[in-house]
C-alpha cells in the first residue's frame, strides 16, 4: 500500500492535488493545488484572506463544484458530481425556507427522505431543543433573529445526522457575543454527534477556539501555507479564550496570515 493510499484509508475526507480554475475569457485560477486529509471526528478550520478560495474549497469537497485537477474522496469513495450521502452543508447566507415554520424547516430533509413520521418527530424535536428553538417551533423564519435563523439551518442539517459537516462562515453575520455562544453550540453538536467538521471562517479567534487543526490559506490561488494543531481537549468551550495557549495559537495564525492578507488587499508585507 502506498503512503497516500494508506493515509486516504485512515482519513474521513481527502483532497489530493486539487485545483479549481474558473473558465472564461480570462480564466481565474482560484484554488490549489491543495492536499489535505480530514480525520474522522476531527474539527478542522480553514482561514485565509478574502477571495483566497475558501468557499471554493468547501464547494469542491461538498461535491457542489468539480475540481479542475486532482481528486476528492469522502469515506474512501470519490466525490463526483453530487453531494455524497452523509455530508451536510451550512451556508453563510440565510438558507432557511421563509414559507415553512421552524419545525417544518428542520423536518424538510427527513420528510424528503421518506422517514417514518414518529422518527421524524423525535429527531426534529431533539434538534429543535438542542438548538434552543423549542419556543419558536411554530414561528416563521421572518419572526426570528439572524442568529436564530442560522440555528434553524444548523438544526436542519443536524437532523440528517451527517458524518461530515461543512460550514461556510455560518456565523459571519452575527455579533461577537452571539458568535461565541453559537461556537459553544457547535462544539456541543460536534462532541455529541461524533461527526467530522470543516469550518470556513475569516475569524482567527473562532478558528483557534473551535478547532483541532487550522489550515491557513495563501492569497489567491489559495494553497495551505500552514497547518496549526491547537492541542485542545475534546471537552472545551468558549472559555478557552482565557487559556494562555489560545493567544499563542491565534498569534501563530496571524503571523502566517498577515503577509497573505496584505497581498490580498494589494499591499506589500
Amino acid at each position: 500500500m502506498s503512503s497516500n493510499a494508506e493515509a486516504d484509508s485512515l482519513a474521513h475526507a481527502t483532497l489530493r492535488a486539487v485545483t479549481r480554475t474558473y473558465p472564461g475569457a480570462r480564466p481565474v485560477h482560484a484554488l490549489g493545488p491543495i492536499d489535505v486529509d480530514i480525520a474522522r471526528g476531527e474539527f478542522f478550520s480553514v482561514v485565509g484572506p478574502s477571495g483566497c478560495g475558501k468557499s471554493t474549497l468547501l464547494d469542491v469537497l461538498a461535491g457542489l463544484s468539480a475540481p479542475t485537477t486532482g481528486h476528492v474522496t469522502f469515506e474512501s469513495k470519490p466525490v463526483a458530481g453530487q453531494v455524497p450521502d452523509g455530508v451536510g452543508v451550512v451556508f453563510q447566507e440565510d438558507a432557511s425556507f421563509p414559507w415553512l415554520t421552524v419545525h417544518d424547516n428542520v423536518a424538510f430533509g427527513l420528510r424528503r427522505a421518506g422517514m417514518e413520521a414518529a422518527e421524524t418527530a423525535r429527531r426534529v424535536d431533539y434538534a429543535i431543543g438542542f438548538m434552543g428553538l423549542r419556543d419558536f417551533a411554530h414561528a416563521y423564519p421572518a419572526q426570528l433573529s439572524g442568529g436564530m435563523r442560522q440555528r434553524v439551518c444548523i438544526a436542519r442539517t443536524l437532523v440528517l445526522q451527517p458524518r461530515l459537516i461543512l460550514l461556510d462562515e455560518p456565523f459571519g453575520a452575527l455579533d461577537q457575543q452571539t458568535r461565541l455562544l453559537m461556537g459553544d453550540e457547535l462544539l456541543r453538536l460536534w462532541r455529541e454527534t461524533g461527526a467530522s467538521v470543516l469550518l470556513i471562517t475569516h475569524a482567527l479567534d473562532e478558528a483557534a477556539m473551535l478547532s483541532d487543526r487550522v489550515g491557513v490559506m495563501s492569497a489567491r490561488p489559495g494553497v495551505f501555507i500552514d497547518l496549526v494543531t491547537t492541542g485542545w481537549a475534546r471537552e472545551r468551550d468558549s472559555r478557552i479564550v482565557s487559556d494562555p495557549g489560545f493567544g499563542v495559537v491565534t498569534a501563530r495564525l496571524w503571523s502566517s496570515l498577515r503577509a497573505e492578507s496584505m497581498k490580498a488587499i494589494g499591499r506589500e508585507a
Binding site: V89, F91, A95, F97, A142
Partner: protein
Amino acid sequence: MNPGGHAPGLSRAARIGWTRTAVVVGLVLLLELLCRTHVIKPLTMIPPSVMAVELGRLIAAGEITDDILQTASEVGTAFAVSVLAGFALGALVQALPRVRRAIDPLLASWYAVPFFVFYPLLVALFGMNVLPLIAIGVVFATPAMMLSTIAGLDRVPRVLRKLARVHRMSPLQEVALITLPSAAPHLFTGLKLSFAYAFIGVIAGEFILSGGGLGYGIAYAYESFENRKMYALMLLVLLVAIGVNGALHVWEARLARRRGHA
C-alpha cells in the same frame, strides 16, 4: 387612558381596514344623498340603493344569468390561459438571457399598444364568437404574469438553489420544493394582475365588440336609456372586481406576513 387616541385592542392593520371601510361607506352615503336630493339628476345617476335593488331583481328574475355566465367563462378562460402561458413564457425567458435582452423593451411597452384595433384581425382568425374576446383578455393579461414570473425567478436566492443540490433534488423536485415556493409572492402578484387585466380586457371587449356578456349588457342598456339596468350591471362589475381583488389581497397579505414582508 388611551394616549394614541385609538380604539384599544385594535391592531394597526385593523385600524387601517376600518378607516378604509368608513371612507367607502361614507362616499356611498354621500352619493346616495346627492342622488336623493336631486343634486345629481336622476337621468344622470340613480341612487346606489336603487342600483342594488335593481341588481337583486335582475339576478332573481334570471334576466342577466346568460350574460354573467358568458362573461365569467370568458374571463375564467382568459385568466387560466394567461397564467399558464405567462408562467411558461416567463420561465423560458428568464432561463434565456439573450432572448430576455431582446424582448425586454417589447414587454416594457406592451401596455402602450391599443390592442382593440386588432379586433377585426382576431375575428378573421377566430370567427364571430367568444374567442376574439378571450384572445383580447389573454393578450392583456399574459405579459403581467410573464413579468411577475421573471421577477420571481430572478429573486430565488442562489443559496437555496445550492441547498437543492445539497439535498440531491432532481430539477423537477427543485422547481416544486424550492423555486415555486420561493417565487410565490411574485407569482401571486402575477395572478392578481392577470385577473385584473383579463377582466378589463374581456369587459371592454364586450362593451365595444360583442353581442353578449356584461360589457355588452351595459352598452346596450346605455343605448336604450335603461338607466336602472345599466347602473345595476355596472355595480355588479364593480362588486366582482373589488370582491375578487380584495380576496386575493387578503390572501397575499397573509402570505407576506408569514414571510415578514408586511
